[in-house]
């Protein structure tokens, strides 16, 4: 059997050149990659910065105001001479407006999501989806304007005891603002439910309504819940609508028709004023900020976990 042989040095210019990577190339690649990695680390820096700032100022705040007082006092008057620091006042206002917003956004958003996923024709989608995108893109200060100058007068016409600043109009308008979030994420969740599931139900003679409500929605439930939780988180963190329309008088109440002050509105109130840096009043906005941050962080994590579980099942 004859053997093949490797050819001896070839005639071309590549003769004798080893297949080794030049040092210059490795250095150049690294020089390009390093700044990119640095840019990615900026995001870590942001988180470190947020946590650092919040922890630092909040710690100093709790050196003066005991934690149990913060959690149990029923008044919030840090800007008055007789100071109370009960976060429950602001928290209740945040919760009140959020619950109201979800009461508006959840049913509507869910219905829109079901419509888009199960019923809508392509022509209808071409109109509805852009409209929802526009609603989602409107700056919140515009929504605040709408709440104060359009919705409140209407509420006052229906229920004359409604104050100029009230939680209800803020809640309603916030609901409209987060509706696109629920409808869009909800539609994604419903669309992710495999066709086979639907077809199985249709093949048994179910109507479209029955398939949508008894098969698809339950199958998409964790995705829908994730959307809802994310919307709640968004409502909790919302600032301008509540600042403009709900007022800046901290009141512990369940009445949606009177002025209340949410956590976010309080931070704005202090920022607009002349509070000197480093004073106790200044530190209160960080204590409130930390509460807000922790709340939204927990909700976001819960939402992501639900979403991951949902995707596991269907992908």
């Amino acid at each position: 059997m004859a053997r093949g042989t490797i050819v001896a040095p070839r005639e071309r210019a590549t003769r004798g050149r080893s297949l080794r990577p030049p040092l210059g190339r490795r250095v150049r690649e690294w020089l390009i990659e390093a700044p990119l990695a640095l840019a990615a680390l900026v995001s870590i820096g942001t988180t470190v910065g947020i946590i650092g700032v919040l922890v630092f100022e909040t710690y100093e705040f709790f050196q003066v105001v005991p934690l149990w007082q913060f959690l149990t006092d029923t008044q919030w008057t840090p800007l008055f001479s007789e100071k109370h620091f009960g976060i429950i006042v602001l928290l209740s206002a945040t919760v009140l407006t959020t619950v109201g917003a979800i009461a508006v956004a959840l049913p509507l958003g869910l219905l829109v999501a079901i419509y888009l996923a199960e019923y809508a024709s392509p022509a209808a989608r071409r109109i509805i989806k852009p409209v929802l995108e526009i609603l989602a893109g409107i700056p919140t200060v515009v929504y605040g304007y709408f709440a104060l100058l359009f919705v409140t007068p209407i509420l006052q016409a229906i229920l004359p005891q409604t104050a100029v600043f009230n939680g209800a109009s803020a809640a309603i308008v916030m609901g409209i603002m987060i509706l696109p979030m629920i409808s869009s994420m909800g539609e994604d969740a419903l669309a992710a439910v495999p066709r086979e599931l639907r077809e199985g139900a249709y093949a048994l003679g179910a109507t479209r309504f029955e398939v949508a409500t008894q098969v698809v929605v339950p199958a998409a439930s964790s995705g829908l819940m994730a959307a809802c939780i994310l919307a709640v988180s968004r409502a909790i963190g919302e600032t301008m609508i509540v600042t403009i329309a709900a007022g800046q008088s901290p009141t512990l109440t369940l009445n949606p028709l009177v002025p209340i002050e949410t956590m976010t509105a309080y931070i704005v109130q202090v920022s607009l004023g002349d509070t000197p840096y480093g004073s106790l009043e200044y530190k209160t906005i960080f204590a409130v900020g930390t509460t807000l941050f922790l709340l939204t962080l927990l909700l976001n994590i819960a939402s992501q976990w639900l979403l991951a579980r949902f995707r596991e099942v269907y992908q």
Binding site: T47, L111, I138, V142, G237, S271
Partner: protein, 289 residues
């Protein structure tokens, strides 16, 4: 199994009623949008004059204008873009094309997803503590721009990554097979092909930056400014804050000015998004797949 006709009829009726309900819910959204726009137009168009655009704010509604706010917004968006766009694209490219699937990139990914969900006012507190106080930039356009850049960074990063992911692997293969290094493949082939998506991300981010109010109030952007910023270290105001200022006053005349300001703001956003759609179409046409 026989289903009685009456049961079928009722089932169908329920179905149709539900469909109408869904339609009604959808119309609520469309209706609200229309009502909102009509109200703003009605209240704001009369005071939308040339003077309005060129005047500074004033105690007297007839003499007030958004000049300072408009210029301030332009300053802010420009500086924000300067900081956020290169950083965001660089981070997105690194995460998608260079990073090994190790724990570090996973941590950064989760971190960015979380940052995207943090309320914007928290970013304001961050800006206040770090840029205004610690770095002593005070309540300047610079502080505002740095704060907004951090706020919109996750948007740019996430959109850039998605755009890069959408580039087909066959293009990467072809480039590697020609003896290109990773950087040459990324910057010469993949990123140019991902340009439409990346541009979309940038426009989304800048739209967000223009419309944000709360973080800027927190870092101390003033609500009454009668001059234009001359350097990044000058105090400033922006359109949304000016609108907020006018809305918060009791006199209806100021409410009209607020509406006019809103019209200007919405027009700016509209043109920005129209530009985005145009750029995206042009880029897509030359990509053609």
């Amino acid at each position: 199994m026989r289903v009685p006709g009456s049961v079928m009829a009722r089932r169908r009726a329920i179905g149709r009623a539900f469909e109408l309900l869904c339609l009604a819910a959808t119309s609520v959204g469309i209706l609200v949008l229309i009502v909102l726009l009509v109200d703003i137009a009605r209240r704001g168009l009369p005071t939308l004059t040339w003077d309005f655009l060129t005047n500074y704010p004033s105690r007297f509604p007839e003499q007030a204008g958004i000049r300072a706010a408009l210029v301030g917004s332009l300053w802010l968006v420009g500086l924000t873009a300067l900081f956020a766009v290169p950083t965001g694209i660089a981070a997105g490219v690194w995460l998608e094309e260079y990073a090994r699937r190790g724990w570090l990139s996973r941590v950064i990914e989760v971190n960015i997803a979380n940052l995207a969900g943090v309320p914007s006012i928290i970013y304001g507190l961050l800006g206040l503590g770090v840029f205004v106080r610690a770095l002593q930039f005070d309540r300047s356009v610079l502080s505002g721009a740095l704060t907004m850049a951090l706020l919109v960074l996750p948007i740019i990063i996430i959109n850039t990554r998605e755009a890069l992911r959408a580039v087909p692997g066959s293009l990467r293969d072809a480039a590697y097979a020609l003896g290109a290094t990773r950087s040459q493949v990324v910057w010469g082939v993949v990123l140019p092909a991902a340009l439409p998506g990346v541009l979309t991300g940038i426009i989304l981010a800048l739209s967000r930056a223009i419309g944000e109010t709360a973080p800027l109030i927190t870092i101390g952007a003033l609500t009454f400014i009668a001059f234009l910023p001359r350097s990044p270290l000058d105090p400033f105001t922006v359109l949304p804050i000016q609108i907020f200022n006018w809305v918060s006053r009791p006199q209806p005349a100021f409410h009209q000015l607020a509406a006019s300001g809103i019209i200007v703001l919405l027009l700016v956003l509209l043109s920005l998004n129209a530009l985005a759609i145009y750029l995206r179409d042009r880029a897509r046409r030359s990509m053609q797949w």
